[in-house]
């Protein structure tokens, strides 16, 4: 039976789609059968981040309206045989789908995959309600900013009142250099405020921009963000992976400071 996970945040632009793409890829690399569903109807993005935009024939709304079979709309990722994408519709809007229809769709996918990942749109309206309708658990993505954390808190409240019991947090785009000089909330600050379980932190890394430019998720690559996503993917499967040390000593001065600290 599949586990259905919704990736959500409330606020837009904090990295839901990037997170979905990378966790989907990570789970597929761990030989789990994964289907990624883009539930952001009208603002289709996950296909672009995944580099699969040229392979779309049918979409989520086509499947729900019965214009095509489910298998016709699923795109197999040639790089990772265990990974498939169900793209969203670009020319429709959120009201094209109801929570009941989403539940039914997820129900028909359940036997065939280990994980069903739902990329949720920003906001708390219809699109959010559709995305969480069939979910067993949630991953809330936030950045260490007042606005994003406030929205995450609201989302966590809404998830709880919709009986989604397991809620995990990803702190995205953390900059340890800024945390060190006191100009950014730390991972601990964020957990302290939101009081949910941390499943991982992802550093603000240039390679993420490069990877989405190229349409190649970076999970598993050598960069810190790539390692962070791989670790989160392992934790999703229940593996106990220690938190990644995000303190890279890059500059001369920080290395010097590090050398002094050891004495």
């Amino acid at each position: 039976m599949s586990e259905v996970i919704v990736i959500t945040s409330g606020k837009g632009g904090v990295g839901k789609t990037t997170t979905s793409a990378n966790l989907g890829t990570g789970l597929a690399m761990l030989n789990k059968k994964v289907v990624l569903i883009d539930t952001d109807i009208g603002l289709r993005n996950l296909d672009v981040v995944m580099g699969l935009e040229n392979r779309i024939v049918y979409n989520l709304v086509d499947v729900i309206e019965g214009s095509c079979r489910l298998s016709q709309a699923l795109i197999k990722d040639k790089r990772y045989p265990a990974l498939q994408l169900l793209p969203s519709a670009q020319t429709r809007d959120k009201s094209s789908v109801s929570p009941e229809q989403m539940k039914k769709l997820i129900g028909s996918l359940k036997g065939d995959f280990d994980y069903i990942l739902l990329d949720c749109p920003a906001g708390i309206e219809q699109g959010f309600k559709n995305a969480i309708a069939g979910a067993d658990r949630a991953i809330v993505v936030t950045t260490p900013e007042v606005s994003a954390i406030r929205d995450a808190d609201r989302i966590i409240g809404l998830l709880e009142s919709n009986d989604i019991r397991q809620i995990d947090l990803i702190v995205n785009r953390i900059r340890m250099d800024m945390v060190k000089r006191g100009d950014m909330m730390s991972i601990e600050d964020v957990i302290d405020i939101l009081a949910v379980r941390l499943i991982g932190a992802v550093p603000d890394d240039e390679s993420i921009v490069i990877s989405s430019n190229q349409g190649e998720p970076l999970t598993g690559s050598d960069c810190l963000a790539g390692q962070a996503y791989m670790n989160i993917s392992r934790r999703i499967t229940g593996e106990d992976v220690p938190m990644l040390d995000l303190n890279i000593k890059s500059g001369f001065f920080s290395r010097l400071a590090g050398a002094f600290k050891k004495k």
Binding site: R150, G182, D183, M184, M185, I193
Partner: protein, 97 residues
């Protein structure tokens, strides 16, 4: 490190955390900061008749506490009011009319 800590109180990371904590109190209680501020001012006004309170350090919050009947949570008003000096017998104001 001590000196650094001293200066770091005013760093923007802490400012963000403090603002957020206040914001979430009113978000979670579904009560606006203006109303909370009005309650706070009224409490200060009443208590100041009888004692000298540190209005700067006064902290009031609406939090969620588990209900005594054991189902769900209920909002509760917490006020922490530091007293500078008791006024008893000194200049007790006239009874309000």
């Amino acid at each position: 490190m001590g000196l650094f800590d001293f200066f770091s109180r005013n760093k923007s990371g802490n400012v963000a955390k403090d603002r957020l904590k206040l914001l979430l109190v009113s978000d979670r209680a579904n009560c606006s900061p203006e109303i909370l501020e009005a309650i706070k001012n009224d409490i200060i006004k009443v208590i100041s008749r009888y004692m000298d309170v540190d209005s700067e350090a006064l902290d009031i919050q609406i939090t969620q506490t588990p209900s005594e009947e054991g189902h769900g949570s209920v909002p509760a008003l917490f006020a922490n009011i530091p007293i500078r000096d008791m006024k008893f017998g000194k200049n007790l104001p006239d009874q309000p009319g």
